[in-house]
Amino acid sequence: MRPERDPDAVLCRRAAAGDKDAFRLLVETHERRLRAFLGQLGGPDLADELAQEAFLKAWQSLRGFREESKFSSWLCAIGWRLFVDHKRRERSEGRKRDAAADLAEREEAASAGARVDLERALARLEPVEKAALVLCDGHGWSHEEAAEILRMPLGTLKGTVRRAKQKCREYLR
C-alpha cells in the first residue's frame, strides 16, 4: 500500500508533527473498533480506560511510528499490550477476580437465544483465544495482521483461532 493513498498515513504524519486536529480525526476514525475489541476482552469500563491509554501512548509514540504497518493495526497492538499488562498487574497484585463471578457477570450481560450460548462459550475462552477470534472473525483482520497485532507467529495464531472455534463449537453442541 502506498502511504500517500492511505488517509491515516497522512493524518499520522500531521499528528506526529504536533497537529492535534489530525490526531482527533484518527481518534474519531478508530475509537469504536478499538473499544469494541477491548470491550470483548475485558468489558466496557476497562475498554474505555485502556483505549484512552492506548490513544495517549499512540500520541506519544507517533514520531516513532513507521508506516510499514497500518495505523489501525499498530493502535490495536498497543491496546492488546495494555490489556496484557493490565491482566499481569492484576494477577501480581492479587486482585484476580473470581473466574466464576466474572463468567456470571458476562452471562448476565448477554442477550437472548443462540447469542446467549455464544456469549457463554466466548466467556470460557482464554483472553488470547478470544482476542484472536474477535480480530479474525469479528473485525475482519487477516491472519497475518492479527498475528502482528497479538505479536505471535502466524502458525500459532492460526492454531489459536482453530482452538477457540473448536471450544465454541463444543460448548454450542
Partner: protein, 106 residues
C-alpha cells in the same frame, strides 16, 4: 452446528459497532493529550532550567577556583577563612531570591 453457521454467528456477535464516533470519548482523549502536552512542556522547562543552573554553578565554581589562586586573594582568604563562607551564603541567597522571583513571574 457446522463451520459455516459458527462463522456467521461469530461474525455477527463479534463485529465492531457501526455509527458515528463517541464525542464524549473523543473529548476525553483530547483532554488527556492536552494534559500530557502540558506536563511534557513543564518537564522540558524544568530540565532546561536545571541544566542552566548546573552550568552556572560550575562556571561560578571554576571562577572561584581561579580567583582564589590570585596571591592577594589567597592571602586574604588565609587571614579571614570565614570570608569564603560569607561569599557562598550571599550567592546562595541571591540564587534563592532569583528563583523565587522566577517562580512568581511564571
Amino acid at each position: 452446528m457446522d463451520d459455516e453457521e459458527l462463522d456467521i454467528l461469530l461474525g455477527e456477535a463479534l463485529a465492531p459497532p457501526d455509527g458515528p464516533a463517541d464525542r464524549g470519548f473523543v473529548l476525553r482523549v483530547e483532554r488527556s493529550v492536552a494534559e500530557e502536552e502540558r506536563y511534557r512542556r513543564w518537564r522540558t522547562g524544568l530540565l532546561r532550567q536545571l541544566a542552566t543552573e548546573a552550568l552556572a554553578l560550575a562556571a561560578l565554581g571554576a571562577s572561584f577556583a581561579v580567583i582564589a589562586r590570585v596571591p592577594a586573594v589567597e592571602a586574604l582568604l588565609t587571614d579571614a577563612p570565614g570570608l569564603i563562607w560569607a561569599v557562598l551564603v550571599t550567592l546562595l541567597l541571591v540564587w534563592a531570591l532569583m528563583r523565587g522571583r522566577g517562580s512568581v513571574l511564571a
